[in-house]
Point group: C2
Chain length 224, copies 2
Amino acid sequence: MDAYKYIKEAIIHGKYEPGMRLGEESLAKELKLSRTPIREAIKQLESEGLVTPLKRGVSVRHFTREDIQQIYDLRTLLEGYAASQAALHRTDEDIQKMKEANSRYEEAIERYKEADLNSIKEIVNFNQQFHEAIISACKNPHIYFHLSKVVVVPLVFRSFYWYDEFELKRSLEVHKTILSAIQNQDSERARVAMTEHIYQGSDQVLAHLEEIKKIHVLKEDTHD
Amino acid sequence: MDAYKYIKEAIIHGKYEPGMRLGEESLAKELKLSRTPIREAIKQLESEGLVTPLKRGVSVRHFTREDIQQIYDLRTLLEGYAASQAALHRTDEDIQKMKEANSRYEEAIERYKEADLNSIKEIVNFNQQFHEAIISACKNPHIYFHLSKVVVVPLVFRSFYWYDEFELKRSLEVHKTILSAIQNQDSERARVAMTEHIYQGSDQVLAHLEEIKKIHVLKEDTHD
DNA sequence: AATTAACGCTTTGTATACAAAAGGTCAATG
DNA sequence: CATTGACCTTTTGTATACAAAGCGTTAATT
């Protein structure tokens, strides 16, 4: 498998935790490759900011609460803009793709209610599909280029796993609002709805971050 | 010298022209290095979008008129936001840095009037310093991360070389407007002024692009 | 003369070997 | 007992060697 993709996935899915040092030799052994392709993969990840350089080698980047907040601010700006432009430039095919993603999203929520835990992965996917359909509809590939690097933050990617049914449904409703604004070529409404949508996601992630912190503190208290 | 920096500079300054194939062996010989560090540099440039992958190897990316337009749209969005945030979060030191950059900019224009062609390099530098001071003042390092990859497009970097005295002075005046808005913590004015400033830059670059295209057509007409 | 197949050359992808630098350990000394 | 310095180990940085994949050219056949 491609070293870059493998390591990136491993970081996003939390296999390699923040702060963990990534040694070339151990990665090479794990992927059954030589150090050369590993080094190239690491260089790419470094220029994307997913790993941070140490005095020697790199470690998985730790994103602070402030980072998350700032990244969400950026995402709000970029995706809000993307939505407004999508409203102006969308084709019928673009609309079709958004509707498709939303239907699948809705179906996955139904399966989720039946306690199908595997459906979460699909929910994540179809959510991403919807957002990508909008970014694609705005007809500015450079936006996509940057957003793909903004969104890929480990915590954010896993945020859906602590959404409850109500939150998933509310999220779907907002998707529908955004979709109809884009369909009606109402660019300002599309922007505002998308902006609000992402702020809601931000609230979720930040609240969850607080929960984790509390648990951490409790754990440390129990240390003999 | 560091291979990454060297190649990047060479692309920005036009030594390696768009479409030109970058062979590992030839770069290695030019930089008196082995292929290994060259490959790593190329991988980084690839993930930044400055070179595009071929079936074999990479070539210097060609930016179309549409690319330039889209990139400027992005830059408008990001730097406009940065200016508005800078108005809210700037410290006295931030203001000081902006004033400093502007003074130097002004001095360089004076030298430019005296036909000191070397001053253009300084103008480019001090302009960049001013913009960076603002981005730094907005207190969101992630913005900087992305802007540093948006702005670095060969054509854009060289745009100052075809500015005339009037345009340089007008640019300086807008800088002053932006600066005072930020100083007065007028975030909306800061955003609008910055947005307009960058649109003006965009107009310049696009107009120049048309000129170049005309010359190109003329050249091709004279081909036997 | 045109088309295709095969050969060889060029260039990238991967592995490995070697050089250099950083970090840790242990002992000696104040 | 703490601190510093020398040595040793580990890991990265660079070079080179080898494998594989494209690309072009040439020659043979129709």
